[in-house]
């Protein structure tokens, strides 16, 4: 088990290989569909202004060398107004494929956690900029929520609670490297092998 703490250096990321089991501690930012579209539209496609510039000033330093978690949690707010994660497994990452490479390249994100893997554009960005894709177990939501020790803040709740940016502190959050900065992807390999097996079955 390789222990990593945020922010993560490029050197550390480059040392990781597909199949490595890592344990992360530090700060994650959750971002899924609405949040990725927002980062591209309001931060990267134009010079952010007003509230958008303020949010980038808050999240930018956390994303630089940081971790994005593809997750739309079930959350609970206590009497004091403090949020807690109740269930928080990963969501399907493939939907962020059109955006992820730019978020990695232009915001300096070092690790993306999700499920199901991502495509060529993201893999290229991992190679070019020094980043990895980490796989958590899809659906293991009650278990994963135990690793979230604190919800530090939440932004853009107008996207809906599952789609907001949640700033969380985690301890010993375990996942597996399935796409590395050397161009290896477990997802690519399993897809190729299973397609080959399919063709064998039907004698194509």
């Amino acid at each position: 088990m390789i222990k990593l703490k945020t922010p993560i250096t490029e050197e550390k990321i480059r040392s990781l290989k597909v199949g490595d089991v890592v344990s992360l501690s530090g700060v994650f930012i959750t971002a899924r569909d609405a949040a990725h579209k927002y980062m591209i539209d309001e931060w990267l496609d134009k010079e952010p202004r007003g509230e958008d510039a303020e949010l980038r000033a808050i999240l930018g330093p956390l994303l630089d060398g940081g971790v994005i978690y593809h997750c739309g949690p079930v959350v609970r707010q206590d009497e004091k107004g403090k949020w807690h994660f109740v269930a928080a497994g990963p969501t399907t990452s493939a939907r962020e494929e059109p955006y992820q490479h730019r978020v990695i390249g232009q915001l300096g994100v070092r690790a993306v956690i999700g499920k199901g893997g991502m495509g060529e554009m993201t893999l290229d960005a991992c190679v070019k900029h020094g980043a990895v894709y980490l796989h958590a177990v899809g659906g293991a939501a009650s278990l994963i929520a135990q690793q979230v020790v604190e919800v530090e803040d939440v932004y853009k709740t107008e996207f809906g609670l599952p789609e907001a940016f949640w700033r969380i502190r985690v301890e010993d959050f375990q996942c597996v490297v399935t796409m590395d900065s050397h161009g290896e992807s477990l997802h690519k390999k399993v897809l190729q092998d299973s397609r080959k097996r399919y063709e064998e079955i039907f004698g194509a």
């Binding site: 109740v86 399907t92 199901g116 278990l143 994963i144 599952p162 597996v176 079955i201 039907f202």
Partner: protein, 293 residues
């Protein structure tokens, strides 16, 4: 049939059970899958995590998966039946379940993008009624269908030139397994595959989805479909996709197939992919008493 004052409380318990407790047959099948995988392999570790999570969710009464999906209620009822009261009770129960964190607020307005915040909206939750011949008995089956797995569902029109799939059972085999290859780990396998051969575009998907309600171990009364179900499961598990697409032998827990007559021009095969967190729960109301299957 009289109205039932406790109905929304009963429906709330139905939702809690569905969200936090996985059916025993699915859990057993996952445990069997873990035992069949190579010791210390990513597949075995993934199934171990899944089983640990299932037990924890039941113990803490928290959702098995954070994507509590679309709540789909299937109601079978006698001829004199207060359908509107049941629908209202489900809507109320879904709202309360959301405040209790059994459900994530999941209903998003498709035009404005706004989340309603309480899991209600146009055609949300989904409720389907069907009359049966029992006099004083209502059965409600609730399914929580997550979005990741729903996205990997597929509908094929045969013939399919790209796959060389013709209008016969061999063509049906080709498209079902193609859907499994395309899904990879995106739909959170190991999956339950639910299929309808025939029908039209809407009845095909609707009939396929209902197949998920069948217990894993049941036998299709149609011997041709029974054999096809076993064959698809076996072939899918030889693809090497494995739990969460990590590689391995446990790709599909079971296959459930039905068929419907079609018009001569159309031959649809509709495939619903159900994630390993196949959350479903039945509630039976008989003689004014409720029980949960």
């Amino acid at each position: 049939m009289k109205t039932i004052p406790e109905l929304s409380d009963w429906a709330l318990e139905l939702i809690r059970l569905a969200s936090t407790r996985l059916p025993a047959d699915i859990r057993e099948s996952l445990a069997k899958g873990r035992a069949s995988e190579v010791e210390n392999s990513p597949a075995a570790a993934t199934l171990g995590t899944i089983l640990e999570n299932i037990d924890l969710a039941e113990k803490l009464s928290t959702p098995i998966c954070q994507d509590t999906g679309t709540p789909v209620f299937y109601v079978q009822h006698p001829w004199d039946f207060p359908a509107a009261q049941f629908k209202a009770a489900f809507t109320e129960a879904v709202k309360v379940a959301t405040t209790k964190n059994y459900l994530r607020p999941n209903a998003v307005d498709s035009i404005t993008g706004k989340n309603s915040g309480d899991n209600t909206g146009d055609h949300f939750p989904a409720v389907y009624f069907e009359q049966w011949d029992r006099e004083d008995e209502v059965r409600v089956d609730l399914m929580l269908k997550g979005g990741g797995s729903e996205n990997t569902g597929a509908q094929y029109a045969l013939p399919h030139a790209g796959l060389g799939a013709g209008r016969d059972l061999d063509g049906v085999r080709k498209v079902i397994l193609d859907a499994v290859v395309n899904a990879q780990g995106k739909g959170c396998g190991p999956a339950v595959l639910a299929v309808c051969i025939g029908g039209d575009r809407s009845s095909g998907y609707a009939l396929a989805k209902k197949q998920i309600l069948r217990p894993l171990g049941d036998k299709n009364p149609d011997p041709v479909l029974a054999a096809l179900e076993d064959e698809i499961t076996e072939k899918a598990n030889s693809l090497g996709i494995g739990p969460m697409g990590f590689g391995g032998m446990t790709t599909v827990l079971g296959t459930k197939i039905t068929s419907a007559h079609r018009v001569p021009a159309s031959f649809f095969v509709s495939i619903i992919y159900m994630c390993w967190a196949a959350r479903k729960q039945a509630m039976i109301i008989r003689g004014g008493e409720v029980s949960y299957d």
